[in-house]
């Protein structure tokens, strides 16, 4: 990414060290491979993570994201390659000597120690004086607002409180990198959403580098400065949340993040616009459509491509829209109503169903479109993304 022209990220444009070729990464995975017997957990993977980033590893279970984290923490040794932290090779340094701390998915709070002792544990191991430990623990207890619970044992705390103790404990030694392994997985949805924002604020406030492992794509989208989508031990795409969502480079990424429709099309013509391609294509029912790519790809005239369309970018109307492009006629066969939005499943052809989303601006009573209605789906010229088939 050299220009901001195709960047879909307008929110955090001021913080993007990964676009700066002079910036030195804090963490460098260099051709890292991790094998368990014949099973390849991490396959020749290279990745740079910069200071003050909130980096998310996202992927289905078994994709290697947890292994990446355990390699960083030092719980697993790598098979090939090396990992650098601040330019220093840490591949063979044991976990207790790495300036990296981890917040465990299970929180892993010591059941025989109270809140204070848990938080101060790491400092005690460092050989800090009693007074120093006390001050730092107090500071952290303030930070996570557990003032009333300092003498309680973990089993006397609620899930949310335990999560805070675990967070405070992992922050205590001011690690250069904090690893968060599914940190909010055990919380209920409301608390999880609230805690996501607290984590972000905390990370910004402390100016630390966080790395989070999660299978919850919404969580990754919310907290992260960059997301790495993983599959079978490889990085599929590393980008900002907005880029991942709006400009996925493969069908896998598009499908993994959010909802998406894939419609087959044949390329008629290609025009180059800056560092992307603008494509005109034809669907199997001879409808003309526009599509863009996110970079210069191998797609040529006459190729079969996937038209990737997010449901919220497709409008549903009873009246036929103007123009002769980027529209489809179909029948409503299902309506998924979740309150704020409704998802219409519209049958376009015998084996093609397109999902389109509509914000329920009107009360349900006044629903204009219902089952078996003939409707028109239409979208803007830049809504569709062309992906290699």
């Amino acid at each position: 990414m050299t220009t901001a022209a195709k960047s879909y990220d307008s929110v955090s444009s001021e913080f993007s060290p990964w676009t700066d070729s002079n910036a030195t990464p804090l963490i460098q995975f260099q051709n890292v491979t991790k094998r368990y017997g014949d099973f390849v957990a991490i396959d020749n993977l290279s990745l740079d993570i910069y200071e003050r980033e909130f980096f998310a590893l996202l992927g289905p279970s078994g994709c290697g994201k947890t292994t990446m984290m355990r390699l960083l923490a030092g719980f697993e040794g790598l098979t090939e390659g090396r990992i650098l932290l601040g330019g220093k090779d840490i591949s063979h340094i044991p976990p207790n000597q790495r300036p990296v701390n981890m917040m465990f998915q299970s929180y892993a709070l010591f059941p025989h120690m109270n809140v204070e002792q848990n938080i101060g544990f790491g400092l005690k191991q460092e050989g800090k004086s009693k007074a120093e430990i006390k001050d730092r623990v107090e500071e952290l207890i303030q930070l996570v607002q557990l003032q009333q619970f300092t003498k309680r044992k973990p089993e006397q705390l609620s899930g949310g409180q335990r999560q805070r103790v675990a967070l405070a404990r992992s922050l205590a030694k001011k690690p250069k990198l904090l690893l968060l392994d599914e940190p909010l997985g055990a919380l209920d949805k409301k608390l999880r959403e609230q805690t996501q924002f607290e984590l972000m604020n905390l990370q910004e406030q402390l100016g630390m580098t966080f790395m989070i492992v999660t299978h919850d794509q919404e969580e990754a989208m919310t907290v992260a400065s960059r997301i790495a989508v993983m599959s079978k031990g490889e990085l599929v795409q590393v980008d900002t949340p907005a880029q991942i969502y709006e400009a996925p480079k493969s069908r896998y990424v598009a499908d993994f993040i959010g909802n998406v429709n894939f419609i087959g099309a044949t390329v008629d013509s290609i025009a180059i616009n800056k560092d992307a391609q603008e494509i005109e294509a034809t669907l199997s029912n001879n409808t003309l459509v526009n599509a863009t790519t996110t970079e210069i790809t191998e797609i040529k005239q006459g190729d079969s491509i996937w038209l990737s369309l997010r449901p919220e970018k497709i409008a549903v109307d009873k009246a036929e829209p103007e123009g002769d492009r980027n529209k489809l006629k179909g029948t409503v066969i299902d309506i998924g109503y979740v309150g704020n939005v409704s998802t219409y499943h519209v049958q376009i052809a015998e084996d093609v169903i397109v999902k389109a989303q509509r914000v329920n601006r009107n009360r349900l009573r006044n629903r204009q479109i219902t089952w078996d209605d003939e409707v028109w789906l239409h979208w803007n010229e830049d809504a569709a993304l062309a992906l290699d088939k």
């Binding site: 923490a73 030092g74 719980f75 044991p94 976990p95 207790n96 990296v100 701390n101 981890m102 465990f104 998915q105 299970s106 892993a108 709070l109 010591f110 059941p111 025989h112 544990f121 790491g122 191991q125 460092e126 044992k153 089993e155 006397q156 404990r169 992992s170 205590a172 030694k173």
Partner: protein
Amino acid sequence: MGKKFSLGRLAFIGTPYFWLLIFFLFPFFIVFKISLSDLAVAQPPYVPNFDFSEGWNGLLLFFSQLDIENYTFLFEDSLYYKSYLSSLQIALLSTLLTLLIGFPIAYAMSKAPKRFQALLLMLIILPFWTSFLIRVYAWIGILKPEGFLNQALLWLGIIDKPLIILNTNIAVYIGIVYSYLPFMVLPLYASLERIDMSLIEAARDLGCSALKAFWVVTLPLAVPGIIAGCFLVFIPAIGEFVIPDVLGGSETLMIGKTLWTEFFNNRDWPVASAVAVILLLLLLIPILWFQKFQEKQMEAGT
């Protein structure tokens, strides 16, 4: 209907108490009564006995004949307190030895691949399939001067004349440690196996070496298992009779053996009963402490 239900409940709750009353408290009072009686050449070999034909006077006479003479005798003759002390020493030391041997076994079991753990557990329990007595007797064959152990050591050239182990206290320690090892390993394994691996990783992550993590996390969390195991070994070991009788020598002094001698060789039931009552009282102290500890554990909710 409510009454029927509560009767059923009463029976259900009452059964264990009834059991304790019949099979523990009642026999205990008989033993206690005998301990207050006097030796007599009679059948049974003590006086007084209940004589219901004498009525109220007979009962008064009965109680007037009871005294604590036998207890004072226990303090006068050094044999008894020496037996108690020696039993205590043997039980404590063998409990410690069992812990030292049992802990690594239990730890290794808890760290073994999950699919082997059931098998290992069965191997620990396997000795119970043979009679306890036979297993103790088998040690004679191993430990005697011309036994397997000495033959092996002689053959290896480690010793040039047989070691005298059988009929010494060492043989008693070996016998107790061997016999009670499963009672130590099982509770230890149960508590070690429960420890979440991520706790150890968290300790490592926060700066502990592997050894330090063991000391500050694994060991404290294994304490309930250590205590349970120690009691399961210590309590039966202190009153052990068979092992010192079969493997021990003339200098092996254990209260179980003394008790046996009083009952069957001297036929002094009153003194033997007094010995048994004191032993029970001595054991009450650790048992009550153990109960306190368990209550604390329950309150802590673990």
